[in-house]
């Protein structure tokens, strides 16, 4: 056990404060718009805190550190693209300002406003499927991080996963988006401080000169130049640009922050400044991964890099960073960092739970009730369905996390599962907002072909992630244009 009583005290204090503050959110809940989009009242600074906290979790630190460990400085390209795309979208208001003006609560809701109720239902199913599969690996990886850093034996992994889930579920189910926004603020402060502290410790422990020389000796020029890196190359860079454009506009949890903003200008400001944060969100954990390679990369080569060996144990690249933290952080600091990582974990998971369960309740269950000609649900009924969906998503996460292990780098698995719905949704949203001839038929084809283009090549044909990503976006765009031209919109409406 590497944790001291001081570390446990800090972590327990944080957990109690976080859950207690989260439960306060219940006092501000009125109707379902309060529960899902905080009454559309979030200002710029609270908005930046909640968007950044939502998209920075232990899972983010783990997969970015893994990328740094496996691909060196070349991995920074992915972080640079994510930040620059967000800044461009924020400055121009591309998609997000029109989305905010429509006063939506979920992304699939746009499909009913612009296309048809049936397409909203289909989009809801595909979005929920991709989103929950995406989130499915979070708990296990977060549990691994916490057990390695704290020194809790690995046999308690399931107990740690369950405890994390129950705590965040408690305040998310009860307080909805208001609770999430309040806790996100506290969690953002803690996780940012932890990020800065770990970065300083990692560079001090490994040494900048050693970090550079290890990448150079292990990977050569490919460790610096993303265009010649074997896993990256130009196809990766273009796919990442497309993917991040779709993530920052159509990813349910990100879009919910835009919907929750006070007005379209606030949503643009939040997106722009969070884009700057995203540069550090990617590059700093990647640096931790490279530092772990420099300190512990002494094992047999696997996938072009030596495996980490810590105290005689051979570790997978994704576990090298937490093992490094357990070794280089002192008592007290380790507690602060783990509290920060727990904060990151809870802020991401609570937002994702809320986001995907919102899609299930608003875009699948409620439209199905309408199709079955059942009377519409009142505010209490809608809140109940949302909370039930939260529980359903949580149960799925537990089972999927225990059953499934991603075959390659976790970052790429997350990219592909996101692409299942992002390809079709992004194409349909962009054409729907900016092309007068966009039609419902085009939307159906884009959603189906985008999902098929991601699922079949990756899960069944085991193709490369870059090719799979291109396939999904290409099929979705081709399907949308062909469908819109073949079955045009009638009377100016799709």
């Amino acid at each position: 056990m590497t944790f001291t009583w001081l570390d446990w005290l800090i972590v327990a204090g944080y957990l109690a404060a976080s859950v207690g503050i989260g439960l306060l959110g219940r006092r501000f809940l009125g109707d379902v718009s309060h529960y899902l989009v905080a009454g559309r009242e979030i200002g710029p600074y609270a908005g930046i805190a909640t968007l950044a906290a939502t998209e920075i979790g232990t899972i983010t630190f783990m997969y970015n550190a893994e990328l740094g460990y496996r691909f060196g400085f070349a991995a920074f390209a992915a972080a640079l693209i994510s930040g620059v795309v967000m800044i461009v979208v924020g400055r121009t208001g591309f998609v997000i300002s029109r989305f905010r003006a429509l006063e939506l609560m979920t992304v699939p809701e746009f499909f009913e406003v612009r296309y048809s109720p049936g397409l909203r239902l289909l989009t809801g199913v595909v979005v929920a499927l991709g989103g929950i599969l995406n989130m499915g690996v979070f708990l296990k990886i977060e549990g691994e991080f916490l057990t390695i850093v704290s020194g809790v034996p690995a046999r308690y992994l399931v107990a740690v996963m369950t405890a994390i889930l129950l705590l965040e579920l408690l305040y998310t189910v009860i307080g909805g988006m208001v609770a999430v926004v309040i806790t996100d603020f506290l969690q953002y402060a803690l996780l940012s401080i932890a990020t800065i502290v770990v970065s300083l410790y990692a560079v001090r422990a490994a040494g900048w000169g050693r970090i550079v020389s290890v990448v150079s000796n292990t990977m050569g020029a490919a460790g610096f130049d993303p265009t010649i890196s074997p896993k990256f190359g130009w196809t990766f860079l273009v796919w990442q640009t497309l993917l991040w454009l779709s993530v920052v506009t159509c990813w349910q949890t990100t879009a919910m922050r835009m919907f929750s903003s006070r007005d379209p200008e606030t949503s643009q400001k939040v997106m722009t400044w969070t884009g700057v944060i995203f540069l550090g969100r990617g590059m700093l954990p990647m640096l931790w991964g490279i530092a772990a390679l420099a300190l512990y990369g002494t094992g047999a080569a696997s996938g072009g890099v030596p495996l980490a060996v810590v105290q005689g144990h051979v570790l997978a690249p994704i576990d090298a960073m937490p093992a490094m933290l357990a070794a280089i952080l002192g008592p007290g600091v380790r507690g602060i960092v783990v509290a920060g990582m727990l904060a990151a974990t809870m802020s991401v998971n609570s937002s994702y739970l809320l986001g995907w369960s919102a899609v299930i309740s608003q875009d699948v269950v409620l439209p199905l009730r309408r199709l079955a000609r059942r009377p519409p649900l009142g505010p209490r009924g809608q809140l109940f369905v949302n909370r039930l969906a939260n529980l359903f998503v949580s149960l799925f996460l537990m089972f999927w996390g225990l059953y499934y292990t991603p075959p390659g780098a976790v970052y790429l698995y997350l990219n592909i599962t996101g692409t299942i719905f992002l390809a079709g949704a992004f194409v349909s949203v962009v054409f729907g907002l900016y092309w007068a001839r966009a039609s419902t038929c085009g939307g159906y084809l884009a959603m189906v072909l985008g999902a098929v283009g991601a699922i079949v090549p990756f899960f069944f044909l085991h193709w490369n992630e870059n090719v799979t990503g291109f396939m999904a976006f290409g099929l979705a765009a081709a399907g949308f244009v062909a469908g819109s031209l073949a079955v045009p919109a009638r009377g100016g409406r799709p």
Partner: protein
Amino acid sequence: MIAWLWFWTACLVVAGGAFAAITVVVIVKGGPDLRETLARLRQQKRVDEHEFDPRDPLVRSEDGE
């Protein structure tokens, strides 16, 4: 390779510095912003709860009475 190393070093310094600076700004200005958000939500909730009650002072004042 040297050019890439310089480029990534510069990116890292800018990204790390900006991350730290924005963290400070958001922590300082985010508190009042969050309080304002919660005050507006409380106001919304009170209006929602009383909007069908003609005796409620909030509703009367909104109608200009």
